[in-house]
Symmetry: C2
Subunit: 445 residues, 2 copies
């Protein structure tokens, strides 16, 4: 039996583990699931005869290297900062490793050593990063093979609530780590637009959205996502004119979220005095000018140049940020207070389903014509455990793990899924899980 | 002879060293001046018979402790991050130390050890921090002694160009470290207003100014300066309603500077691609939306909601930010590009004089009356070497050094100049240097 070690059994691992267990008899796999919480590991193992659940502290050096040494391959679904510990052991012990996270500098530095040992450290094979890389590179390589030249590339992804369950004024619910949503964008963004570098500071990010129309799903907006410039090199598009990556929300989300950013409510760098005893109303007042004749709502509207009965103000009022409810958490940063407020409001209901959208735009020149190609993926979750997020993150990881174990992928060193050898078989199998792209091409005149 | 060791012989040390040399015969002092640049040290020593100039690398442990061990007292005018090295040796070797910088956590932690050794580490005795603490505490203690209770305290300071030499549309020139001016405020600000904590994020700071009228000098504005809240405890004003510290500029500066902040031009966290080859015009364009039919000026005005012929736009045009001049510095951050541009425009001319303004407002209750007291200091520089900044930073340091050497101050441990024993004699002698406060009191009805 081949032993697969899965480290981390959180929500993002549920579809991944299900795939591995479902295929475990066919391929004679033993799926060992380690988590800090034994209960979590056991829940995901579901007493499957080919599973083994155990309590695992990744900072315990002896346990970690012992478990890795017994395994054929390791899948790390741990928080990103912990991957390095696992990767280092994997290289030392000659065990392949797969993660869905952005490759870190530390892991990149293991490339030579991993190659020497014949070890593969495959990263960024979840959804974003992951499916975005694979689906984009498949189109880019195809256009190139046909003699075309990509001139513009825009790619946006978003985790949202499925339309049927979309019943709040923000058209948004948390389908992933709430803290990441609250802090999103804080480093600002960089991209390339018509041959010019563009730099957007955090406090202008939610003001610089682009509208996306997705057939059958309506209108969305995308705000710039981190550093798009590095993908020129990664995708081999050095001469491209526009290179933009974005985060998708429903139209109207960003301009309302921007109010929180403008006021400073997303700051995570200091503690709010007396946060425990304050009401949300007093909290937001701390960010507003003093005016004894104006209520917090009025001051907010005035400071941001909004009408008091505007749609943005309605969204804000709905969150309860102007309510007299007491925050009740000690020594909280503004971002933590905001997260506490929104966690109850933007909670995905027990019967709600989530949705992942991915939308690529390619403009390319071929045979003296300029073509405009869009490629769109929409995935709706199955249930509370097998969410669209969990499926799109976990299934690519699971498929590629199978391909590596079966000897269909024979790479070594630190890799991303931007090579045909990886993306072709993975994307092909993903279609069986409803993860597929619809293309639409027009000619630009 | 008593040996005084001055570490750091930059502009801020010139008036300090002059005072020490001027008084060196009277008190039998040897003034040893160490700097990384021997030339700088020698220039400040001016071949005075009681001086000694030497090349000094503060990171050379042997040299540093040797020089300190030979001295009666050490004045560190080094960059703030280097004080700790000096302070540690001073405690070890039993030598007193004076700095004009904010006391760091690391230095605070030396308090017990310093007391045990009978060593005084006196910090924050320049102008801001320094004269602000002393002049405020003198009034606060006086009001308390008379049975009054301070209810509001606002204190603002600014380094500006003297009115006679104030000849550009920003009414501002660099009179101090330009980099600090470019990065000013990036941590945001906190203060107390009418009993409520107020938190202002960086991108709203230059929008939240207060106007100050200074008799004979006209109107100024102050934007919030860092964390004012900590001064409640330091000044013993736990029950105060308003506690605000600000940075003074001429009216109109902040709203124009805010354009740079809003666009992201003050960001110091990443490198601008091809910064060397870009013109300032292309640089600012990197922060503006793409619009092939609009010039950079028009896009700036539109993005900020300004008229193209507004006073703010005039200020921006005057800096040359829209010019085709090439930046010419490699791998520069946006903040470094902006500094390069402004360093030539905001340069203090050879015959220009600078000016330091300090303005306190105290509201206090006494005998059932509420009084409004303002206390204002204006200092104009003498010349290019003895600027108002150099005088107001250096002379308090020099005076307190004399008081310590003469045995008039007998404190130990980590101290600030908020005690009568320090501020009374220092403020009294400062008057001889034209550093004095004019008070004006009215009754609030």
């Amino acid at each position: 039996m081949k032993r697969i070690l899965v480290l981390g059994a959180g929500l993002s691992s549920s579809s991944l583990i299900k795939y591995l267990l479902d295929h475990s008899k066919e391929f004679d796999w033993k799926v060992a699931i380690g988590d800090y919480s034994l209960e979590m590991a056991e829940k995901k193992a579901q007493n499957h005869p080919n599973s083994q659940a155990f309590e695992c502290d990744v900072y315990d050096d002896r346990q970690r290297s012992f478990e890795i040494s017994k395994s054929e391959i390791v899948i790390s679904m741990l928080p990103a900062r912990m991957h390095y510990l696992v990767a280092e052991d994997c290289v030392k012990l000659g065990v392949n490793m797969v993660t869905a996270s952005y490759v870190s500098k530390e892991i990149k530095a293991l490339n030579e050593e991993a190659k020497k040992k014949g070890v593969l450290l495959l990263n960024e094979i979840g959804v974003d990063p992951g499916i975005d890389h694979m689906s984009a590179m498949q189109v880019i390589d195809r256009v190139r093979e046909q003699g075309g030249e990509i001139i513009n590339f825009e790619s946006s992804t978003g985790g949202l609530v499925a339309p049927e369950y979309d019943n709040n004024p923000w058209n948004y619910k948390f389908t992933w780590n709430p803290r990441s949503v609250i802090l999103a964008g804080q480093g600002g963004a960089k991209f390339l637009h018509n041959g010019r570098y563009k730099y957007i500071p955090y406090h202008k990010l939610f003001n610089r959205t682009e509208v996306i129309d997705i057939l059958g799903f309506g209108r969305f907006e995308a705000y710039p996502n981190r550093d798009s410039l590095q993908y020129k090199e990664i995708y081999g598009l050095e001469d491209i004119h526009t290179m933009f990556r974005g985060t998708i929300r429903r139209v109207g989300y960003s301009e309302a979220w921007d109010v929180f950013v403008q006021l400073g409510l997303t700051d995570d760098s200091y503690i709010v005095e007396d946060s425990e005893k304050l009401s949300y109303r007093l909290f937001i007042n701390s960010f507003l000018p003093f005016d004894k004749n104006a209520a917090a709502e009025k001051k907010t509207a005035q400071l941001l140049g909004l009408a008091e009965d505007s749609e943005i103000m309605n969204k804000l009022r709905w969150t309860g940020i102007f309510s007299d409810e007491v925050i009740g958490i000690k020594e909280a940063t503004p971002a933590q207070v905001l997260q506490k407020l929104l966690q109850s409001k933007w909670k995905l209901g027990d019967d709600d389903k989530d949705m992942i959208l991915m939308h690529h735009i390619f403009d390319y020149k071929m045979n003296n014509q300029t073509k405009h190609l869009t490629s769109t993926m929409v995935v709706i979750g199955n249930d509370k455990l097998h969410t669209a997020m969990s499926i799109t993150v976990g299934i690519p990881v699971a498929i590629v793990t199978k391909l590596i174990l079966n000897g269909d992928i024979n790479l070594t060193g630190v890799q991303l899924p931007i090579i045909k050898e990886i993306y072709d078989p993975v994307l092909s199998e993903l279609e069986a899980y409803g993860i597929k792209f619809i293309e639409n091409e027009t000619e630009l005149t």
